[in-house]
């Protein structure tokens, strides 16, 4: 049953405490095997919160819950996350199960239930057995501590093969503030917030609507710029919490210049987490950056990059260490975006495979083959129409992916 750790895994970072944030994990028994499957987080009074969620048409009870409480940014004192059950496609009983979890946590944390955020991940169509979770909350509350980010990252894993975390320090008006985050997700990582849970906390003091704007600013080039198989989940959630306990001044406007370094560092943390999702793409053996340049518009560049990054033929060629640029031409064409055939060029790393619409005169199969053996690859495509560009991160499509996804429920 146990899956080997992805060859592309990166180590979990040292995460020092973030003032105003406490964590605890517990074993609710949502899996057959014994493992921690619930995470409780407590945030200091006055913590602001913003979230971005799946755009999936069906959605899930915990996502509906958070959206209803948060809108464009709000306050939060607690977070309960469970693995093992997505509580999606479970109708009104699912909504009520979610609400009972929020209510129980609110009672323990001494806050209103609308200040408790929820997230669930696992098999969908199965009603959440909320009793199993609420029965554990009391002992978890007793164990809350400022450490334990790695354990938290482990407790929310599903098919993940390694825990994912990232950390940074920024300066706001001369005061250092900390940013720490964890995430989970390995299959179904696609643009528009695919099966992915990410929780990022900072001790900066940031007004809810500014927090919301920051999240929106970075999500497109981070979590929405990674793809494993193009599928998307009912439960995707990224929540950002700001406790205000760093001593840095409260930022009330998204345009405040004192936010520049924080915004950069937040973007770095989100990109680091997003790329770890790809590194743990189910069965992945190669980490691939796809860069499209020369497109007519940024949206066109993104669509071409995504079409390449999601093409099963490109992804299997990468798995086979085959610099099959012909398949990239296929994918480019399939995007139905403006492309100038006679100016199209394709490179793998620094090696040009095709230029001016035909195979490159300097094409060297031996050097190309050597490059393709690397674990981290870059595919560059210039479509020769304009000046817009976009980047997507993806992984290869291997036999292991099919194996994992062919027997997930068994």
């Amino acid at each position: 049953m146990s899956t080997p750790v992805s060859p592309l895994a990166v180590p979990f970072p040292e995460i020092a405490p973030v003032a105003g944030v406490e964590l605890a994990v517990g074993h609710a028994g949502l899996y057959k095997q014994v493992r921690d499957d619930v995470l409780l987080m407590r945030f200091a009074e006055g913590t602001t919160c913003a979230g971005v969620f799946t755009q999936h048409a069906v959605g899930s009870a915990p996502v509906d819950w958070c959206k209803a409480q948060l809108g464009g940014g709000g306050e939060a004192r607690g977070l309960v996350v469970n693995a093992g059950c997505a509580n999606a496609f479970t109708g009104k009983p699912g909504d009520e199960a979610a609400k009972r979890v929020a209510k129980a946590a609110a009672r323990l944390l001494g806050c209103r239930k609308r200040e408790v955020m929820l997230a669930s991940t696992g098999v969908i169509g199965v009603l959440l057995d909320d009793d199993k979770i609420t029965a554990r909350l009391h002992e978890m509350e007793a164990r809350l501590s400022a450490g334990g980010w790695a354990a938290a990252a482990r407790a929310i894993m599903t098919t993940d093969t390694f825990p994912k975390g990232s950390v940074a320090t920024a300066v706001i008006d001369g005061v250092p503030v900390r940013i720490a985050g964890i995430c989970k997700g390995s299959g179904m990582i696609a643009p528009t917030m695919a099966t992915m849970l990410a929780f990022v906390a900072t001790d900066a003091a940031i007004a809810p609507e500014v927090l919301h704007a920051l999240l929106q600013r970075h999500v497109g080039s981070t979590f929405n710029a990674v793809t494993v198989d193009g599928d998307r989940s009912t439960n995707d959630t990224c929540l950002l919490f700001a406790t205000g306990r760093s001593g840095a001044p409260l930022i009330r406007r998204a345009g405040d210049k004192r936010l520049a370094d924080f915004s950069d560092k937040l973007g770095q943390v989100m990109l680091d987490l997003a790329c770890q999702l790809v590194r743990d793409g189910e069965g992945a053996s190669k980490f691939v950056k796809v860069e499209v340049t020369g497109a007519k518009t940024p949206a066109s560049a993104r669509k071409i990059a995504r079409t390449i990054a999601e093409s099963p033929l490109v992804k299997t060629a990468v798995a086979g260490e085959d610099a099959n640029w012909g398949r990239i031409v296929m994918a480019v064409g399939r995007a139905d975006e403006p492309v100038r055939r006679e100016r199209l060029s394709i490179r793998f790393g620094e090696l040009t495979a095709a230029e001016d619409g035909a195979v490159s005169p300097g094409y060297d199969e031996a050097r190309m083959s050597a490059y393709m053996k690397r674990a981290e690859l870059e595919i560059g495509v210039d479509v020769g129409v304009g000046r817009a560009s976009a980047v997507m991160w993806t992984c290869d499509l291997t036999k292991r992916y099919v194996e994992i996804n062919g027997d997930y429920r068994s």
Copy 2:
């Protein structure tokens, strides 16, 4: 090197001669191994022709050639098809190589070069070595005969594991006419004419623009309603030839009622060929019909059906014989089309898995598992919004698919 025949293969039909059509195959040496790789077809004087082609933005020399000659329907006396080289993304030299093949064939057949249609399939980005083809045309012309459809279907195969053909007899104004077709394609079979070559001939007498209208009428529900991996090729071509040698009256208007039976039978032949492409989907072990009902518009139904049919998570679940309807919910949501969550229902064959937005009360895992072991499956989804429907045919995504596509060039 040799690939086992798909478990979903169907036998090649008996195809009796179609008046006015002759075929011959030859060995041009476009593959390392010894095999027939060129097909020559000769059509009687006055044969009309229509084609539909890839919408791929990059395209290929033979597709550009046919489109330039045919427009909305024209005349044709010959067809030269080669496997082993797509002659795509080869710039002006590729166009010239294609033209030289047409010219050589025209000289042999005693027609104008614009009456010779061309099609190529194989690796892209490699210039067609047209000498190898033209050197064989003379001996092939000498061997032209009214039989040999199965050999023709074999000569155009690439990764196909079985030759594909279909045949029907229709009646036009009391006169029986014959329709026969062959096709090739196994990977990259996607909507909008993905890597697929199909050639259908009839001895009916049909004006070019009527032939074109017929092809357009049926392509959406046949070749464009099948998908293997969502990828699309530079070379997709479907050509329809009508020799007029049956003795049936010439049909000059698409609305002519005498065309009804012919149109039905043509649709059947095209659907049969299209489904054989799916049956030979690379690594396929299951043939899956996806039917979406209750959609707002036909386009919406088609988009939802296609999103389900192309979802790697749905396709790997089918490979694993797992009735994972949760993944179908995922795919439905991902289509970004109107769906009423509380009325969504999902069935596998006659077995309802989900209804009214939640798992079905009568859900029986044992019966469902037994159903999923079949080689031919039907997935039905009602999205509860309107009355529009659509059907797509697809196959599962197996480890074998990844194997085949990871080392195609080696």
